[in-house]
Structure formats: structure tokens, C-alpha cells
Symmetry: D3
């Protein structure tokens, strides 16, 4: 397969791509045509279907995987595929992972690591709660492992939610070793569950957009409610422990203005808030630098960080 990032003017294209976006349009002369964005894991490219009613053009739609036959042109300095034929593909013809941004880490490995940590939780109720989600609920596990942690900002790729969750959990584990005041079972349970509501807030890839419930209720409240529902299925789950886990979820954004309806009142909620924030910001900074890896100077003002950013450098510096 020829990846989009490798296409050059004049290339002939004959491969399967994800149709990220399709929009019908009309030329000045009133002729219909279609604007299309093709995607694979290496990027996206614009395409035009000038004869959408041709028999060679299947009845395709946004988010279909389509086999495209066409030619790469240069239009005003940007590459563009002039599409001659389109065929909608069957599920067995392609591997979605080739068309989506994915975690650079292995999903199975990360999931195994997460289960390993669950095995270290001593409190029987908290351990059952974690297993109810991460071991016994296969639908949840599948959604959780494929979900992104965000629509746009950090960890916005397949496996991103798992990667972020694992990273936060391990950072919390370090905290527990450094600050004995922290109750490890409570903190690690909250860490593993803190973003589970995102499996409902964002639709699955390739769409990866806010759902109605996501917009109306948000992952924080949905996550808290998911925990209450799972705990209701565990014999004798102490209400007081449940309330503390829910509190950690509700408070993990740390401040009202970031959408948390509660401010951390117990030290584990505070620690989770710091771990989540630290991981999100360092990962975001990493992604900015990755996207500017050829740039050795200042990257321009960044609104999130409220600063002009720069790649640090100490080797060979005068």
C-alpha cells in the first residue's frame, strides 16, 4: 500500500483509503462534483470527483473505506487526487488500524499491564469493582482499549484512553511510594476509572466525535454514574467507599472552571488531579514537539500553555 504521506505530483493512485469526509458541490457552470478527504494512518489528502454520476463511482459515504483509482495533481501548491473510480470495500478487505492514528505503544501489552496492577489491589470491594469493568465487562474492555482520550488535544488516537489511563495510574503508584499518606487501593482504583466516561462521551473511531450524551452530561458525571451502577451489582459494597471513589472521579479536573462539580476534599482526589494534569500536559507538549520535529527554533505562541514554546537543547549548545 502506498501511504498518503509518500504521494507525489503525477503519481497514479489505486488503493483503499478511509473517506474521512465527503461533500457535494456545484461548479460555476452548475455541474455537480464532490469534495472528498482521504485518510490513512499517515495523514490526509484532498480529492475531487468531477464525474460523480459515472458508473465507475460507487454510492459511497463519509466514513466508508473506499478503493480509489485516480491521479495526483498539484493545485495551487497543494496535492490533490483527481478521482476516476471509487469502490466501497467489504470489512475483510482492510485493517482499520491502517487508517487511523494509533498509539505508538502496543494495546495488548498496555492492557496486560493494567490488569497486572488490578491484581495488586488489596481491598476486596475495590478489586471487584475494577474487575467488573476491566475484566468481566467485555464490551467495556473493547471500547476502552480502542477509545481515544480526547477529540482533539492529547492522546487523540486509537488506544489513547488506555495509554493515558495506564500512565496516570503508574504516576499515582509512584506518588504512593513517595507519599505514604496516600491510600493506594483507593487512589489506583480512582486512577484506573477516572476517564471511563469517555467511552460514552466520544463515539468510536473513525468518527471520534462528541456524542449527544457527551455534550449533555459529560464524561465526569457519566463516569461517576457508571461506577455507582457497577457497585450496585457488588454484594455489600460499602457506600462510604463508593462515595470516595465517585468523589475522586467528580473532582479529578481539580477546579470548577474545568468542569469538575466538586473540588478535591480528600488527598487521593488531589493526587489524581495532579497525575491527570501532569500526564495530559506533558503528552500534549510531546505531541507539539513531534509535530515540529524539523523545527529547531521557537514554535510560536501556544494558547494552552500561554507561552511561546521551544524544543530544549543541551547537547552541542554553545
Amino acid at each position: 500500500m502506498k501511504y498518503i504521506k509518500d504521494l507525489k505530483e503525477g503519481d497514479r493512485v489505486f488503493d483503499i483509503y478511509l473517506c474521512k469526509h465527503k461533500q457535494s458541490a456545484v461548479t460555476k457552470n452548475g455541474k455537480p462534483y464532490e469534495n472528498v478527504i482521504l485518510q490513512d494512518r499517515t495523514g490526509t489528502i484532498d480529492a475531487k470527483v468531477w464525474e460523480p454520476n459515472n458508473p465507475g463511482i460507487d454510492d459511497y459515504d463519509t466514513l466508508d473505506y473506499i478503493e480509489v483509482y485516480g491521479e495526483v495533481n498539484n493545485f495551487q501548491g497543494a496535492l490533490q487526487v483527481n478521482v476516476k473510480r471509487i469502490r466501497v470495500c467489504r470489512e475483510d478487505e482492510y485493517n482499520p488500524a491502517d487508517y487511523l492514528p494509533v498509539s505508538s505503544k502496543n494495546i495488548d501489552t498496555m492492557y496486560a499491564e493494567l490488569k497486572g496492577i488490578i491484581g495488586t489491589i488489596q481491598n476486596p470491594y475495590l478489586r471487584q469493582l475494577l474487575e467488573a469493568f476491566f475484566v468481566k465487562d467485555e464490551t467495556f474492555v473493547k471500547a476502552f482499549c480502542k477509545s481515544s482520550a480526547a477529540k482533539a488535544v492529547h492522546h487523540g488516537f486509537v488506544g489513547g484512553l488506555l495509554e493515558h489511563t495506564l500512565s496516570v495510574t503508574k504516576l499515582c503508584d509512584y506518588y504512593c511510594s513517595a507519599y505514604p499518606i496516600l491510600k493506594r487501593d483507593l487512589l489506583l482504583t480512582a486512577a484506573m476509572c477516572h476517564d471511563i466516561g469517555k467511552t460514552k462521551e466520544l463515539s468510536p473511531f473513525p468518527e471520534n466525535d462528541y456524542t449527544d450524551d457527551g455534550q449533555l452530561l459529560g464524561h465526569i458525571v457519566m463516569g461517576s454514574q457508571m461506577i455507582a451502577e457497577k457497585a450496585a451489582g457488588i454484594q455489600g459494597f460499602p457506600h462510604g467507599i463508593l462515595a470516595q471513589v465517585q468523589h475522586c472521579i467528580l473532582a479529578h479536573h481539580g477546579k470548577y472552571e474545568f468542569g469538575s462539580p466538586k473540588i478535591p476534599a480528600i488527598v487521593e482526589a488531589l493526587a489524581l488531579n495532579y497525575a491527570d494534569d501532569t500526564d495530559a500536559k506533558l503528552e500534549t507538549f510531546k505531541e507539539i514537539l513531534d509535530n515540529n520535529s524539523d523545527n529547531s527554533g521557537w514554535l510560536g505562541y501556544n494558547r494552552l500553555f500561554e507561552s511561546n514554546l521551544k524544543a530544549s537543547k543541551i547537547d552541542g549548545v554553545k
Copy 2:
């Protein structure tokens, strides 16, 4: 019964009061005594038990209703009861309503009015939801009608939650007549349910203080979850309607910084936010003026209103 607000220096006291607060102390000479605050619906008064080990002093505690025998003294300009005998009373000896701040409106009348409004809701699911709370769930109804709407600020009295809820609901009903864009069934359902979480956030009178769940989860999230649980018991309750009702609850404080995890996204949530805020602020202003009814001038700077307040006056003004 002699009300606390009518006590004068030299009076002899022999009546039942609520023991709002009791604290043991020791005189400079090492003699134990007890500081007590007595309460009835007209106010509170300090009291001293100088001989707590006397046989005439029952084994009483904070929040007991106690029969007090003693004398009113003046200590440094403030009245104080010198207590000689204390007897703890049985439930049938007193009427709690005589000892607590209560709504100036009749609770039964207000409750009937609320039920009357429920009878006008057309959407069968929303009507069932309201009836599940306000008609069929007797424990909830009892708690709801006795609860205050707040610990300290506005509507902080028995029946306050009902009075506030009814007032907000009727204001929303006026909105519906003035702004046809509003969906009355949705808005009025949300209005009636918007503060139901307060029955769990605050403990019942006479304590009326934040519960653990109230501190950890808050009435907004608990109210949203209560609705989800009740709706789960109604056959075929449409998820999309449930999400909109929950959204109205979650967003009714209007802004993140006021503890709402969601900002109003639909017009009914916005209207509820305005009705709740309008009623709370006008009631608060009314209570300030009531507490200063003898004051015809400026009342001093008020932090909530960010202004020096004054009773308006147009009759007989030059």
C-alpha cells in the same frame, strides 16, 4: 409557652426548648460547668449549667428537647439563663415546629399546588417520572417537604425546599406563557426536580448540616443520579428525554464556577438557571430586609450582592 424573644432580665423560665448546642467547660478554679444554647422558633439564648452533676440535671445532649428551669440574668449586656434543672422530654411533649424556623407558607397547601402542576404535564414519561418522586415515593415526599433549601443562605427553614421549588416552577410556567419556544413539559419537570438532591445533601432539621455524601458528591450530581435511577424503573423511558432532564439538573447553576459540570446547552436549561437564580436572589434580599425591618437606612455592604443595600421607599418620600 414563653418565647425566647420575649425573655427579660429577672424572668423565671420553666419551659421546653431545643438544646441547639451543649459544650462542657471548666472554670478557672477547675469546676466543671456547661455552656448551652437554647432555641425556639423565635430565636436563641445562651444558658449556663453551673452544677451539671446535680441530680436535677438529666443526662441530656445536643439536639435534645429539654425542659429547663432557671432564671434570666444579664451578663455583660447580654441575657443568659442560669439553669437549675433540666429534664429530657418525650416526643409527644413538644411540637418540633415550635422550635425550628419554618416557612411562612402552609406546607400542605404548597404540596397540593405542586401536585396540581404535575397533573398538567402531558408527556407520559415525564409525568410518570414526577409521580414516581412526588406522589408514590412517600419517604421522598416526607423528606422533600420538611427539608430546607440551604444550610445558611436563602430558604433555610423547614419547608424551604418545597417553597423554593414551587416558586421556581411557577416562574418557569410564566416563562412558558411568555416565550413559546420553551417546551413546558421538559422545563417544568426539570424545575420540580432541580434541587431534589438537597434531600441527601443536607441532613434533616434540626441538624440541617451537610452530609458526607453532600460534601463528596453534591446535590447536583446526586439529583441527576436519582433521576436516572427512577427513570430506570419506568418502562420505555426514552434515553434522549432522560439525558435532557439530567442536563437541566446538571446545568442549573449556569456556570462552572458555581459548581455546574455542564453549561446550559438547551433553552430549557437556560430558563431553569434564570428561574433558580432569580428566586434565590429575590428571596435572599427579602430575608435581609425582614431581618432589618426596623432599619430605615442603608444596611451595609453585602458580599453576595456586592453592594451596600437599602430598603426602597416611595410612599411619603420627599
Copy 3:
């Protein structure tokens, strides 16, 4: 008359329109031409006058009503009128109401309703003050009834100021019935007068833009001063009442950061602030939904409401 919203490519145009905007320009070859925006109550359309020096093209200007002869073309997907002839019309040839956005409610009816409310004011001074504006000052009445309530945001149409004022006044009247603490004469007088300064802050339609005085002084201060001047003409108007009415005007934006030089200090000023804000926000939301009536989903992030907005829906929802 053929409305602008109904024009199609290829149509021949021969009708009177408001010239919303006219700008001279030069083609690359140095030939002069004119860019024009035509408006009627249904919308606007771009137009080009390629031969501005033709004898068939009158000497017209921005805000003239002009009879246009031409042809509708499609340029880069947008419609455009190629204008061949222009004639400036006399005042009796057109009805301005056909060319401007107007209230969907009848202006005469609303004005009668406002006068009806004035008739219920008991305080003789306040009633005289209202009559001095809304009954006896014909120039003011004419300006008030035609004015918009805003340049851009809500109620930005002919009659908008009257519609907004009446709506706020009626909402205040409802408050008076629900909160007996409010002094109806004072509150309703302030409600009716709260935005009278807008008749000076905005120039009349069709321009509807900020005046110099509007920019330098603002409608709040000008409104307060207008009231002082009218009251000076009423024998024995009590200074203390005047100051309270002026205070309500000055404080009706509620906070310094919204341009009020005073924060509500009396309960009527507070109520007016809530009524004004409630009406403005609900009307704005309504106008957003009206402008997106074909959209059944999320409308996108709205800066004023700090939220992604959506039309609510409960009928037929699953």
C-alpha cells in the same frame, strides 16, 4: 414584489430595494465599477454595477431606496445581481417596513399594551413621569416604537426596543405578584424606562448604528439624564423617588463589568436586572434557533452562552 430570498440564477430583476451599502472599485484593467448590497426584509444579495457611468444609472447612495433592473447570476457558487439600470425612488413609492427586519409582533398593539400598564400605576409622580415620555412626547414615542433594542445581538429589528421593554415590564409584573416585597409602581416605572436611552444611543433604521453620543456617553447614563430632565418638568417630583428610579436605570446591567456605574442597592433594581437579563438571553437563544430551524443537531459553540447549543426535543424521542 419578488423577495430576495426567492431569487434564483437566471431570474430577471425589476423591483425596489434598499441599497444597504455601495462601494466604488476598479478592475485590474483600471475600469471603475461598483459593489452594492441590496436588502429587503427577507435578506440581502450582492450586486455589481459594471457600467456606473451609464445614463441608466442614477446618482444613488448608501441607504437610498432604488429601483433595480438586472439579472441574477451565479458567481463562485453565490448569487449576484448584474445591474443594468438604477433609479432612486421617492418616499411614496415604497414602504420601509418591506425593507427592514421588523418585530413579528404588531407595534400598535404592543404600544397600546404598554399604555395600558401605565394606567395601572398608582403613584402620581411616577405615572406623570411615564406619561410625559410615553404619551405626551410624540417625538419620543415615534422614535421609541421604531427603534431596535440593539445593533447586533437580540431584538435588532424595528420595534425591537418596544417589544423588549414590554416583555421586561410584564416579567416584572409577574415578579410583583410572586414577591410582595417589590414596590410595583417603582419597578414597573423603571422597567418601562430602563432602555429609553437607546433612542439616542442608536441611530434610526435603516442605519441602526451607534451615534457619537452613544459611544461617548452610553444609553445607561443618557437614560438616567433623560429621566432627570423630564422629572424637572413635573411639579413637586420628590427627589428621593427620582434618585431611586435613576438608580434602577444605572444599575440595570447588574455589574460594573457590564457597564453599570452602580450595583443594585434596592430590591427593585435587582429585579429589573434579572428581568432584563432573562428576556435578553431567552430572546437571543430564540433568534439563534430561528436562524437554524433546519438544523436538528448541535449548533456549535456560542461565545455568549459559553456552550455548544442544541434545539431541545421531547416529542418522538427514543
Copy 4:
């Protein structure tokens, strides 16, 4: 006369003082007595009238000038006058200036300087406006020259308004020499008038407290209205100039959150805002240092300046 700051334990007092405050009270035994605060220009002292019904005690009140006969005691480390006789004095028996904080500068000299500056204004309308206030309106001149510039903060003494106004005007005059862009006639007129509303916002000394109008309308809006009224009496005063002067008054606090209903839109309004702010802050700092003249170190955190303050020192510093 023996000044309050010089009184010592054991002194016998027999002099005239201002009765700053009088409050009736009752001893534990039910005996009435009176708490009094006596004031002269050097400070205040507490006093007690233990036999208020004695024939030697006149029927005096707060803000009376009273002749006091008594003895200075030490009560819990603070001095206190035990008052035996009180006589209310006639206006010709005392000089109020001996009992009030006064400007350290001569009021007549400052007033003459202000009139001198008025003589340099070229624009005939602005000059007439200034003369209408500062020359022809004797009542205004008298009030203006005696008024303080503030209740509590800076320039809170007799003549303070005049001193502040003159200082701001001269600073603006310096600006005009340094920044030719500034229109001197406009800026200096606005500078001289910027706080005239304070003559109505604060009651005269010795009370010097906010008036009802001050609380409800504020000196900014009242000052703007005073200018409009005076200008109405000047034949042909150009409306456009009036609006610019009023704008400078309205905008001189610089920001909405400081109570200005308009933000500076012309450069003279901006300059006035800076001059007013600079003078107020430097004078406030001076008064803080004056009040701590014996303190050579850090003065503690000051909320207005958001900093711990210190007297600078360069002579003899190591």
C-alpha cells in the same frame, strides 16, 4: 487648648472638643451611662459619662462641639476621659478647623492657583463652563473647597478635594507639555471638573459620609449631570464639546470594574484617568508613610497595593 495627642494619665481636662460619636449603654447593674468619642485635629480619645442624668451634663448629641470637664484615666492600658460636666457650645466659641483633619496646604492659595489655571483656558465655552462652577457659583465653591476627596482612603480631610483636583490638573498640564497630541483646554477642563460630583456624594465635614444620592447615583454620574446642567445655561455651548467633557468624567476611573460606565475613547479621557490614578496612589502611599513615620522597616501587607510596603532609604545605607 490642650490637644488630645498630648493628654496623659491623671490630667484634668477642661476644653472644647468635637463629639465624634455618642452611644447610650447600661452597666451590668442596669445603670445607664454613655460612651463618647472626643475628637480634635490631633486625634480622638474615648470618654465615659457615668452620670448622664446629672444636671451638669447638657443635652448633647453626636457632632456637637462640647465643652468637657473631666479627668484622664488609664483603663486596660488605654487612656479614657471620665467626664463630669458637658456643655454644648455656640458656633462662635470654636473654630471647626481645630477639630477636623485639614489639608496641610492653604486652601485660599490652592483656590487662587486653580482660578489662575482657568484664566489660561482659550476655548470660550470651556472657560465659561469652568467659571460657572468655580467663580460664579458661590455655594459650589464653598462646598468644593471644604470637601474631602474621599471618605476613608486618600485626601480624606478638609480641602482634600481641592488639593487632589489641583494636583491632577497640574499633572495634566505637565502631560500637555510632554505630549503635544493632547488638547489642553479639553483636558484641563475635564481635570478640574472630574470629581465635582463628590460635593454631592459625601456630606460635609464633620460627618463626611456617603449621602443617599452618593450611594444610589455616585459622583461620576452626578458630576456628568452637573456639567450638562451648567452647560445648558451657556448660550450656544456646542453639544459635541459637552459630550467629550462628559465622556472624560464618565471614563475617568478607566475601567468598568472601577465604576466607570465608559472606557476612555479619546486621548484626553485616557490622560485624565492616568493623572487621577497616579495622584490618588502616590498620595495614599504618602499618607501610609506619614502614619508610620516612626517605623523604619516593613509596614505589612497592604490590600490596595497588593504588597508589603516599606519606606525607601538611600542615605547612610550600607
Copy 5:
């Protein structure tokens, strides 16, 4: 030695304490006496010297170590030492560590651990910089190891600066293992140096108060300047590396409003900001819980955390 926390009413005292505070006063009868606060590592107690001119009372002062002979009384419920004799002690009579709050961790061990980390720094310039401070500059090492990290908030004890620095450094080291993007040499150098300015901002124990330089310049700017001065003594220290280390120091408070003159622009500055904030907040929370170890409920609203705080609990919870 009898510790202050173990004193009881009636005890006879004859031990050495730190005189935390001494203030002369006068009784109502004009007799001079002295208020004193005595301190040891377990707490403080009030004391009175009723006969300060007695020959048995040495000429002592605040911050002297004094041998006190006296008796413990109960005054209005609080213990108080009635002091009969005072003798100022020589340096060899006491161990300051017995009179000051100290880190619960061993200072030598922590210092050795810090030096161990310095040994792992690869970049020769950064390593030399660290050694110049933490190995070769004995005066600095001594001050650094005894200094507190704050006057009042967290780590306010002898060794607090070392403990905080080590904790932040180790947290940064964990970050480096989890986020390969981070340059360990740069980050750990900045972490070890981030608060070195505190050795100049705070005076040494037992005073532990802000110095003049601390108030005027602050530890952030002083720390940055100390680094520049040390680097100037290292042959060939690359300016570009120095600027990055200084930037990390300047930006380690993360935001302007927390006193950083620069916002993190490189990822190491961001990581340091998170590590510093995380350690400070978790330690502060720990100290709050330590101070309330007997309290099993809510601890009350805490301004720093903007929340009512509570000790979490999962063992034995229902």
C-alpha cells in the same frame, strides 16, 4: 527535659527553652511586666514575668535560649507559666534542634542522597554547576541543609528546603523514566537548584522570616542570579545551557500570578513546575492531616485548596 506539650497545671518548671517572643507591658496600676512565649520542638506556651526588675531575671531578649524557673497556672482555660527566674544560656548548654521544628527525615541521609543524584548527571557543565553549589560551597551547603522551604506553609521546618528539593528531584527523575522526551540532566539540575534562592529569602532558624532582599527581590530572581554567578566561574559554560537552567528557575511557579516572570517555554520547565506544585500540595495536605490526626471528620474549609477537607478512610467503612 520536660517537653512543653506535657506540661500540666500545677507543674514546676526548671528547664531551658527558646524565647520565641518577648513584649513589655504595663498593668492597669502602671506596674511593668513582660509577656513571653516559650518554645521547644513540641510546641509553645505563654509565660508572664511579673517582676521583670528582680535580680533573678537576666537581661534576656527575643530568640535567646533561656533557663526558666516557674510554675504552670491555668488562666481562663489556657496554661501559663508564672516565671520567677530567667537565665540566658551559653551555646553549649542546649541543642537548637530540641527547640525547632525539624524534618522527620535525617538531614545527612537526604544530603547524601542528593549528592548521589548529582553523581549521575552526564553533562559536564551542569555537573560542575551542581558541585559548585552542593559540594564545594560549604557555606551554601550548611545554609541549604538547615533552611526551611517556607515561612508558614509547607516544609516550614529545619531541613524542609532539603527535603522538598530532594522530593521534587526524585519526582522529576520518575518523570524522566516515564516521558523520554525530557532531558534528564537539564531537568534534574533545575530541580536541585529551583529553590536555592530561599537560602537568601528567609533568615535562618529560629527567626525564619523574610529578609529585606527576600521582600525586594524574591527567591526566584535571586536563585536565577546565583546560578548566573556560579556559572560565570566555570570555564566555558555554554550560555545557551545557562539560559535554559535560569529559565526553568524563573518559570517554576508556572504562571505570572504566582510570581514567575516567565511562563514555561521548554518541556523541562513545565515538568519542574508540575513536580514543585505536586510536592508542595501533597506535603501541605499531609501537614493538615497530621495536625488534625485526632479528627475523623471534616476539617473545615481550607482557602488554599478551596474545599472543605477530610481524611479519607477505606478500612472498616460501611
Copy 6:
């Protein structure tokens, strides 16, 4: 020389310009060309080099001074130079001052005036400090006199730093005459030095952009450090005076959120903050008006001033 502001369509160009910017591009057909911006002191103009590989086109770069031969065309309403030949010039062929924005005031005169003020400083240490910078350090003097005070906002021209510094210093001198509390030697020294760090924060003209050090450390901290270094070279410079001068530099932005790591604690720091702010804002307003000198109306909303701005006018106003 023909200035850019005088060029017209059809003109032939043959003159030396500063190449402000150069960017290589490719036409749709794949032909390389170059986009260039030419600058002289009167403005900038776009230019195209359609045949960059022609022998007549030298190997030039951004910020070179180049002799251009070409023709002025009109492209879509904007002028554009079609460049035929380019030659890179030697330093002696042009005067940079012809190509850069420069102060309208004479640099030598301003520098002499600054030195004159230094001559009035009495304190020997402060005078030596000023002379060490402004008299003896020729490299510094040269950089200081040519530097701009800002990249974009006010005083963004050659000599701007000197002009701003002198203006601030003179305003401070006026303050000293009006407010005797100010220590003139300290305030004027701080005023003259307050922005010296800008010589390192911004690269020299024609680039005039932030340096790496400017981004990482900022002119406030660098200026403070420059003063410390210079003072270290002056025998016996009192540390306490140095700290106060540094404090004035560090605090001259007045608030944390404007990048000052310290808030003014001494009155001279406060005065400097006002002088700097006043001069910056009045100069900025002046530059806005200069750039809109042909505009007699409202200039549009300005974010810095948070207001719609207007040129004031009193002559000939009705």
C-alpha cells in the same frame, strides 16, 4: 531616491531597498519563483521574482539591502513590483536610517539630555552606576541609542528605547517636584535603567525580534542582573541601595500578570510603574491617531484600550 509610498502603477523602479522578507514558492505548473517584501522608511511593497535563476538575480537573502530593477504593476487592486534584476549592495552604498522607522526626535539631542540628567544625581553610587552604563560603556550606549522599545507596540522604531526612557525619566522628575516624598536620585536612576534589558531582549534593527535570551529570561530579569553586575564593579556600592534599584526594575510592570516578579513595595517603584505605563499608553494612542490621521471618526475597537477609539476635536465643533 523614490520612496515606496510614492510608487504608482506603471512606474519603473531602480533603487536600493531593504529586503524585509524573502520566500521561495512554486507556480501551479511547478515553476519556482520568489515572494519578496521590500521596505524603506516610508513603508513596504510586495514584489515577485519570476525568474530567480536569471543571471541578473544575485544570491540575496532576507535583511540584505538590494538594488532592485523592475516595474510596478497592479494585482487585484494592490501594487506589486515585477522584479527583473537584483544586486546585493555594500554597506557604504546605503544609509540604514533610510530603510527603518526612526524616532521623529534627534537621537544625539536626546542622549545629551539624558546625560544632562545624570549630571544632577547627587548620590555618588547611583551616579557612578549610571555613568558606568550611559557614559563609559560604549557598546551599551550604541545599542541603547539604536534600540526600539518594543517589537510591535509603542516606540517600535530606531531610537524608541532612548525616547521612551527619556520621556519616563522626565515624567518622574515632574513627580519629584510635585510629591516631595519621592527620593529623586533613586527614582531617576531606576527610570533611566528600567528598560536597559531590552537591549538584550530584542535583536538590533532591521531584525528587531525577540532573542533567545529575551524569550527565556525577559528584559526585566536581564535588566536587574545587568545592574547587579555593573554595581559589582563599583567600589563599596551599598547592597541596600542596589536591592532597591533592582526592586524598582523588577516591579516596574506593576503586577504579576504583566510579568513583574515583584509588586512595588517602595514608593519609587510605584512611581516608576505609573510613569512607564502613562508614557507607553499615551505614545501608543498617539501612534494610532498618527496612523489614522485622515480619519475623522471612530477608529474601531482597540483591544489594548478595550474601547472604540476616536480623535478628540473641539475646534469648530457644533
